[in-house]
Amino acid sequence: MNVREEIIKKNKRRKQLIETAIVIGLVIVFAVILPVVLPGFRLRLLGRILALSIVALGIDLIWGYTGLLSLGHGIFFALGGYALAMHLKLQLPDGQLPEFFTLYGVKELPWFWYPFDSFPVTIIALIVIPGIAAGLLGYLVFRNRIKGVYFSIITQAALLVFFNFFNGQQKLINGTNGLKTDTETIFGILASSDSAQKTFYIITVIAVVVVYYFCRWLTSGRFGRLLIAIRDDETRVRFSGYDPTGYKVLVFAISGAIAGIAGALYTVQTGIITPKFMEVPFSIEMVIWVAVGGRATLIGAIIGTLLVRLAQTFLSESFPEVWLFFQGALFLIVVTVLPNGIVGWWRDFAWNKLSYVLGLRKRITTYASLEENPEVRQEREELEMRDR
């Protein structure tokens, strides 16, 4: 038994090493090589896509692991974006108001703008405010044991409420027109300048890695297994002495906070935030990225976002009309042919095939796969031990 455990541990360590190497390699490619190779506007585009992959990670937590399909992540995404945009808007000489206020005859800065004058407060706010908003919404929904489709509908309804509210509040946050960040400065540098954009890009790459590892930590231990348990059978969880409400609220809040980070990074690399970020199709698209990449895999969320968004960019550049059809087709293919997404397909099917072809593993031809049956293996091991 001990020999076996040691082998398992060794394998685990080797796997971890390989993984760390891959991550470091990717970070070098994205953070060092690509900024040199790509022209500025391409880099900005890639940065935006990477920012979106962060929100996909958040959706993977709540949908992939916990089984709660949120169609309202646009809310948290936009809240994060607005928080940072408000800070940029306030980079003015003392006593001056952001320009748009004068259009509506507002003389005094609305009270909730004041905290965003400070950069550290803004950074905390763009994580905490979406987190609290998600936690509150989650608490109200989960406390009443609402789940499944009803949860999805409620999140979408909440999205519409926020969308309409932000659209109508010209005097508070410039309504439909949104807040433009490109013309503003951050630490005295124009936000749309190449150097600022490159910095945003690097921060985004770091944020992807940090959020990814944070999600990995969250989902690897007991907590993560409990999320899967809630997805598989919530009643059983309850009868085992756990209160699922707290877990679901926490995960939803974390997922919202992650969306906030993504929204802020996306906003500064887009140059503007408007209530359009809270339109229904955008939030649904986020779900599609995760579905394409593979639910409950984390890395799949990133791969899915990159793939769908890059495909969108290239296709819509060459065939602007086709993109929407392609997106629909992609979703249909994933649902019907790859229910576990690309990563799921690779893990369950392609990897096995490949390892047979490369001769890494013996092909199993019989049913009940005698060679791989754990009971047969255990018996064999015991016999070998006795022989020794």
Binding site: L226, I228, A229, D232, F239, P374
Partner: protein
């Protein structure tokens, strides 16, 4: 020993339908109690109330002397009640070890689950449980890959991991092969050494295997009877409830039978001689050929269970002839063994209700007395 579970006057109604009706139940700690009952008897609702899934409309559920009303499921589970569902409910996407480990966790708060690592005691418990349920070889296999019987065993293991004082097991043998059923039965028996268990079951073979103590029969939301397996199986009420066929005799005939049965129940003790008398007399009266009489005897036996007050039954007798036959039969029943005081009281009541001429009563009594001497 103290009572681990006590249920008093429990009623649960769903929109007026009473799933449980004034149910009383109690059980000592350390007992293995089997609950049987036909479909719709309220067995699952009974478990739902104990585990907090359904709130009682009326009545109290005391667990170790504490009222558990209005506690959510997870709190009741933490108090020490574990429940196994009818179909195995395990976390299919987790491995066997992970399934057990989750339940084993001593502190089930959100943040301690997030930040603390499994304690060594818990790891040892999981290893021990794997051995108990015989799934060591498949410890790292996904639960989805287990067979039905293995899932049942895993779920029972998860229950034990919760270290509850009271285990509720809902039809553990459903859908298992004979061999698996025996395994599960043996597992339950070994668990019964250290836990109190309530098992709900349909499979009579299985009940016989595990019921070493008392069996409770539920019917229409209340307890029909309680006793050892043998007592329960021979109780005519239980037989009636389980067979529940439409009677082949007429209403009038049934009425006579009911009166006879009530007379026999008068002293609270239905003697075999009394059953013989009722069955032989009535079958001869209701049927002409011998074969039919035999089959009728078997059927009638199932109807003897009910003890309905005479006041409800006697007014339904129409003709003079019927009343006379009832009188004859009743006197014969109580004479079949020594007439005791209680029987005499009920008999006097019957006479009053029948309201027959005194000479006739005396004549009938004399006839039968002569017959028994």
């Amino acid at each position: 020993m103290s009572k681990i579970l006590e249920i008093k006057n429990l009623t649960v109604s769903f929109d007026g339908f009473k799933a449980l009706n004034d149910l009383n139940f109690s059980m000592e700690s350390g007992e293995l109690r089997v609950i049987i009952g036909p479909n719709g008897a309220g067995k699952t609702t009974f478990l739902d109330v104990i585990t907090g899934k359904v709130q009682p409309t009326k009545g109290r559920v005391l667990f170790k002397g504490k009222n558990i009303k209005k506690n959510p499921e997870y709190k009741i589970a933490r108090m020490g009640i574990g429940r196994k569902f009818q179909t195995p409910r395990v976390y299919l996407n987790l491995t066997v070890t992970e399934n057990l480990d989750l339940v084993c966790n001593h502190n089930k708060n959100v943040f301690s689950t997030l930040f603390s690592r499994p304690k060594s005691g818990e790891i040892i418990t999981v290893a021990g449980l794997l051995e108990t349920i015989g799934l060591e070889a498949k410890a790292n296999a996904q639960a989805a890959l287990l067979s039905h019987g293995e899932k049942q065993r895993l779920e029972i293991g998860m229950l034990v991991a919760q270290s509850p004082d009271l285990l509720l097991v809902d039809e553990p043998a459903a859908g298992l092969t004979d061999e698996e059923t025996e395994n599960v039965g043996a597992l339950l028996l070994s668990l019964a050494e250290s836990h109190s268990i309530i098992a709900i079951e349909h499979d009579m073979e299985f009940v016989r295997q595990i019921a070493n103590n008392k069996v409770t029969v539920l019917h229409q939301g209340s307890v029909l009877c309680e006793g050892t397996m043998d007592e329960v199986q021979n109780d005519p009420r239980v037989i009636e409830v389980y067979l529940g066929k439409a009677p082949s005799i007429t209403q009038q005939q049934m009425n006579m039978l009911r009166i006879a049965a009530s007379m026999a129940w008068a002293d609270g003790n239905f003697e075999p001689e009394q059953i013989d008398v009722i069955l032989s007399r009535l079958s001869r009266e209701f049927a002409t050929n011998v074969e039919h009489q035999d089959s009728l005897q078997k059927e009638l036996q199932n109807y003897l269970a009910k003890n309905i007050p005479l006041e409800d039954l006697v007014p339904k007798l129409k003709s003079f002839g019927e009343k006379e036959r009832v009188l004859k039969l009743s006197y014969e029943i109580i004479s079949s063994n020594e007439i005791n005081d209680r029987e005499a009281v009920v008999y006097q009541k019957l006479l009053q209700l029948l309201d027959l001429p005194t000479e006739m009563v005396e004549q009938v009594e004399a006839e039968i007395d002569a017959q028994y001497k």
